[in-house]
């Protein structure tokens, strides 16, 4: 099977270029296995990966124009030649390895933790099963970055727009009945950039390897903001 892989060595190359590799594919082979095979052919080839089963979120790459997790993408599903590029819009460190600093900064900016004003109880903070259900589809995010790096709004304003991943996380804590910082969280999202750069393009929904829906979460935040404002 023919693979075209984006290569870039900052010390040697002025710009990224595509290099062709022929990989012997086997039944059930995932794209990550093919990348490992390519690394065996050329050990200077760099890409991130770890768990190999769609849990750690390390091996997000752009495959034939779509962001995917290499480890859970069967090569049999891909059209030849398979073009593999780093996530779009991110500074390339080497080959498929990109700088995700801004992505993590945006995540940090939404304070992705429970905020309590009441004194902490002796035991756990109780939550009804129904309230707990509100977090389904929100907490499963593995922060692979497929969504935010597929988002045009994040491409244009990555230093100011939180991006779908961080906004999904923001809604995860706004939706949590144990959290007591709703007003502060909403105030922090006001202004034209952090939340409202989202134009409901929905690339994030299309690429999320976990099947999550950041666009819907962003819609919930906007509605809650509106409800609290009128």
């Amino acid at each position: 099977m023919k693979f075209l892989v984006s290569r870039f060595n900052p010390d040697a190359d002025a710009r990224p270029y595509m290099q062709a590799f022929e990989v012997q594919v086997q039944r059930g082979m995932m794209l990550r296995d093919a990348l490992l095979e390519i690394k065996r052919l050329d050990e200077s080839f760099a890409f991130r990966h770890s768990c190999g089963e769609g849990v750690c979120g390390s091996d997000g790459v752009n495959v034939n124009g779509t962001n995917k997790l290499a480890c859970i993408t069967p090569v049999s599903e891909l059209k030849e030649p398979v073009e593999i590029r780093p996530f779009p819009g991110r500074p390339i460190i080497r080959d498929l390895v990109v700088d995700m600093t801004q992505f993590y900064q945006q995540y940090k900016a939404v304070k992705p933790w429970l905020v309590r004003n009441d004194p902490m109880p002796e035991q756990e903070i109780l939550q009804s099963p129904k309230d707990r259900d509100r977090l389904d589809g929100l907490y499963e995010c593995i922060m692979c970055g497929c969504c935010s790096t597929a988002c045009p709004s994040f491409w244009w304003n990555p230093e100011k727009f939180h991006g779908p991943q961080a906004l999904l996380a923001a809604w995860r804590f706004l939706a949590d009945t144990r959290d007591q910082a709703t007003d502060e969280r909403l105030d922090a999202l006001e202004g034209p950039y952090k939340l409202f750069r989202c134009h409901t393009i929905m690339n994030c929904v299309e690429v999320c390897p976990k099947g999550l829906n950041p666009t819907q979460a962003i819609g919930h935040i906007k509605n809650l903001m509106l409800k609290n404002a009128v």
Binding site: S153, E190, P192, R197, A229
Partner: protein, 113 residues
């Protein structure tokens, strides 16, 4: 400049104006299809009616506001040098205000006639 620029207000206004523009456009379309005034005098009389003229003025304002928010969004997305963005926003804002005043003048003249 974006420190005080609004997010929620612009977003909500964009949706509100969209609803009004959509409904009034439908009304305009129905009038044109089924009850189109016959000739210039009839058009003037129709447009000069108290309800229609106010609704039309609101329609023009809604379109201009909607356009302003949309253009502002496009410029915030794509035009990052602050001086160029401010100049474009200023020019487009002035043009929209001029259009609004022009439409208001036309409607007032029709009312007075």
């Amino acid at each position: 400049m974006s420190r005080k620029a609004s997010g929620l207000k612009a977003w909500a206004l964009q949706r509100l104006t969209a609803v009004y523009v959509g409904l009034f456009s439908l009304y305009l379309l129905l009038v044109l299809l089924f009850a189109a005034p016959d000739g210039y005098a009839a058009w003037r009389a129709w447009l000069g009616g108290p309800l229609v003229s106010v609704a039309m003025l609101l329609f023009v304002l809604a379109v201009l506001l909607h356009a302003w928010i949309g253009v502002r969004d496009v410029l915030i997305d794509y035009v990052h040098p602050i001086a160029i963005r401010a100049a474009l926003l200023g020019a487009i804002g002035l043009a929209l205000v001029a259009l609004g005043l022009w439409a208001a003048q036309a409607l007032i003249l029709v009312r007075l006639a």
